[in-house]
Symmetry: C2
Subunit: 219 residues, 2 copies
């Protein structure tokens, strides 16, 4: 009737394309609302498809959709950590943090809801997905640092810093993204070195690492 009006595109998509389109729409909704406030209807509307179609892809309903969206966000987040193993170490960490903070910036509310827990769609499976990302982050850091057999002090320090990064990015979202991402990034890199330096006082493995980081900065 009104051919000029924008209509949702019903073009034929492959199963994978359709699934990915639905997940993108869902992630976009989760980025602005808490998971429990997103319905399958909302996703259908956002993607411009029928509700039965959303159900066909996610017969487990909202919970299944949420987990699939979370897994897709987790994959995307893990890509932030891909960084070539060349050049000085701290700038590599800075670049990974830049990508991470961009991700946080784009996924706002959904990211907070996810990390803060307390959502009605939170289960031990969703927690396992989030823990998986933390584990991958720790492995990346250790691998960049060239450590193969990390002792418990070093592992604890790295995991503590990762948690601190999460906490600070939640606070950052709460505080209307102040300070600027670049400043937050530099501060986090400095916290990384400071935390390792404390551990280095009682752990030879970490001490050797801190010395290497220091040499790295001088060259």
């Amino acid at each position: 009737m009104t051919p000029a009006a924008p209509t949702p595109a019903y073009r034929r998509l492959s199963v994978e394309e359709r699934r990915s389109q639905l997940l993108t729409s869902a992630l976009d909704l989760f980025a602005h609302r808490a998971p429990e406030e997103v319905s399958l209807d909302d996703v259908a509307e956002a993607a411009g498809v029928s509700r039965p179609l959303v159900y066909r892809y996610f017969p487990g309903g909202k919970q299944q959709l949420y987990e699939a969206a979370l897994r897709s966000a987790a994959d995307e987040l893990q890509h932030c950590f891909d960084e070539p193993r060349e050049g000085p170490l701290l700038p590599r960490l800075s670049r990974a943090l830049d990508r991470y903070l961009t991700f946080v910036d784009e996924h706002g509310t959904g990211f907070s809801a996810l990390l803060q827990g307390g959502s009605v769609v939170e289960t031990s499976r969703t927690t396992a997905i989030v823990d998986g990302v933390r584990r991958v982050a720790a492995e990346h850091i250790l691998s960049h640092l060239g450590v193969t057999g990390p002792g418990s002090s070093l592992r604890m320090t790295i995991r503590m810093w990762i948690t601190a990064v999460e906490a600070s990015s939640l606070i950052w979202l709460d505080e209307d993204k102040q300070p600027q991402a670049e400043e937050l990034r530099d501060w986090l890199v400095e916290q990384f070195v400071a935390m390792l330096t404390v551990t280095a006082r009682r752990d030879p493995q970490t001490e050797a690492l801190v010395r290497a980081l220091d040499e790295d900065v001088r060259h």
Copy 2:
């Protein structure tokens, strides 16, 4: 018939005493099992009372019991932060950490389940209880530091350290409570100073605090 056999004490308790007895039994169970694995039957058995009695006190069932137990644990945890405002600052922090680590030690599994989320009894209300404890911890620290109008850099640093303390105590439980609590405590105090020192480089309020802490250590 066999008067020598130990029987549960059915003595008359006041409503408050009974409630507190049930919560103590529940907390004890939550300390060794994940919340979803504790039933009202278990609590009745542990407290040596009938199941209907447990239901009379917690008509909302497991969820209500869990929240009440959590709130009671949160109150107990907050007492760890009570520390007289006298003497050097860092030893005050050490003493509060000692009490905190004793609490973590005693509440083991329940404490992890609580902080890690992903439990089926996790809701926005339980999250709010946990966040409340974090907020109280931050207020205590700021008050001991003598800060009344904390800027965002200082607040972020304190909250980051609190999260780091939580993370490290979870890891500590995972790693069979290694290192010794005293060593973990000293390391956490040093991390506190190190994190503040990094922030001090760009924030005058934090810089003044770090100078005061430093003076404190010298005297």
